[in-house]
Symmetry: none
Subunit: 139 residues, 4 copies
């Protein structure tokens, strides 16, 4: 298991994502997990969708469990494609639409971020603000 | 978190939906939940489908958890669309076909209704009778 | 499978139990199931405990699934007794404290009632009001 | 259904609890939920137990679902006592040892806090620091 983000780094990324969501006028749930997919921190913005509590956590889980951004799973899990059926495996924790990203430092995944609460592009934009904060810290 | 429907209001909506189902010759299960997706009341009409017990409850849950009617989820969750895979998230509680509706008063969701037991259009018609009763009460 | 209570009988029992709860100053969740343990109707009185939604449903389930009142399971499920461990079987649906009762007519179980929301003796008293209503109907 | 804590209040309570844990040399997971038991925020301090992610969340859930501190459930759920078996109901979410507390303002529960990561007395002490911060805010 590689090194993990600390709680203090995790809440910093969450705050960057929250700031982006507020600027976009969105209400999101933001989760950060360690490289083993286990939760470090999660914030539900006021009035964000209830379903997003579980979905954001599972986007963070998926990005760790498959070591890739969740939007890359959308195409291979389509009917007729190679990973058709992926989304119902692993006790229902795999999310195959965008908003989950691994956080890499020196070629190692040290954590993941998952965001849910709006349209997929919005989830991705808010999560990306967290990823950018992470990259600034590790630049 | 907004105010919630009372039990007495919930059973009134259920009775309106039941009356509509009877008039249409249908057997339905009808569930009403609070704004956080937790059950207030549920009635299974005689000989209604067993699966509809869980499905109606989850339609009510979904309408609360994503703050929209469940039929609006049908298109974005199709193969190739942006929310493909939504229907298997959140511990299998998300229903992406019609029959679940939020109940709004003064711009706030105060509860939801979910109906299952027939074709989707029938579920929607019966649930709508509950929504109408709600709207009459809040007119 | 024996005959089942109808929805109309079920809501009548629930109303009798609700009336008793109100008289006792209690807030309860009341569930009625058919002889196969599947829900017919459930009402959560305003401000009743959230946990009682699941617990009342499972008391009704248990009374059907083991064909006896749930309080009779308390003693045999104690440490060292013959059914030690019973309460963690059957996907966690077995409740081993009072408040669930089978409803028998002509020696056949035709449904069950489960009540949760207070101390066990209170749950039992409120459920018993439902049982009594049932017995009046079948006297 | 009463009003809920905001995210900003929730993270303030979590920080108060974290500060107490640090002073005591402990690593804890701290969760804050709304009155319907749904998560608002959760922080896992670095190197806190993995099991505590779920346990703290469920302590917060239990304090909402049964409207009382979780340590009050320890005695009635003992073998031979009235609520023996409570701990395995409600899909395994009920925690019957200390560390979960309701947060009340003007006689209404507006949220709950759950802490896990050490001995029960330690969990209770850290959670209490969160409760005290809440009470200062509402004094």
């Amino acid at each position: 298991m590689s090194e993990s983000l600390t709680l203090s780094e995790a809440t910093d990324l969450i705050e960057a994502a929250e700031a982006e969501a507020e600027e976009m006028g969105l209400k999101m749930v933001i989760a950060v997990a360690n490289p083993e997919g286990n939760l470090i921190a999660q914030h539900r913005m006021d009035d964000a969708w209830l379903a997003s509590v579980e979905i954001s956590r599972n986007k963070a889980y998926t990005a760790a469990a498959l070591q890739m951004p969740t939007h890359e799973l959308a195409e291979p899990s389509q009917p007729g494609e190679s990973l058709w059926g992926l989304q119902t495996t692993d006790e229902g924790r795999i999310v195959v639409f965008g908003g989950g990203y691994p956080l890499e430092a020196d070629g190692e995944i040290v954590g993941t971020i998952g965001v849910s609460g709006g349209e997929v592009e919005q989830d991705m934009a808010v999560a990306s603000a967290g990823v950018e904060r992470f990259e600034e810290r590790h630049a």
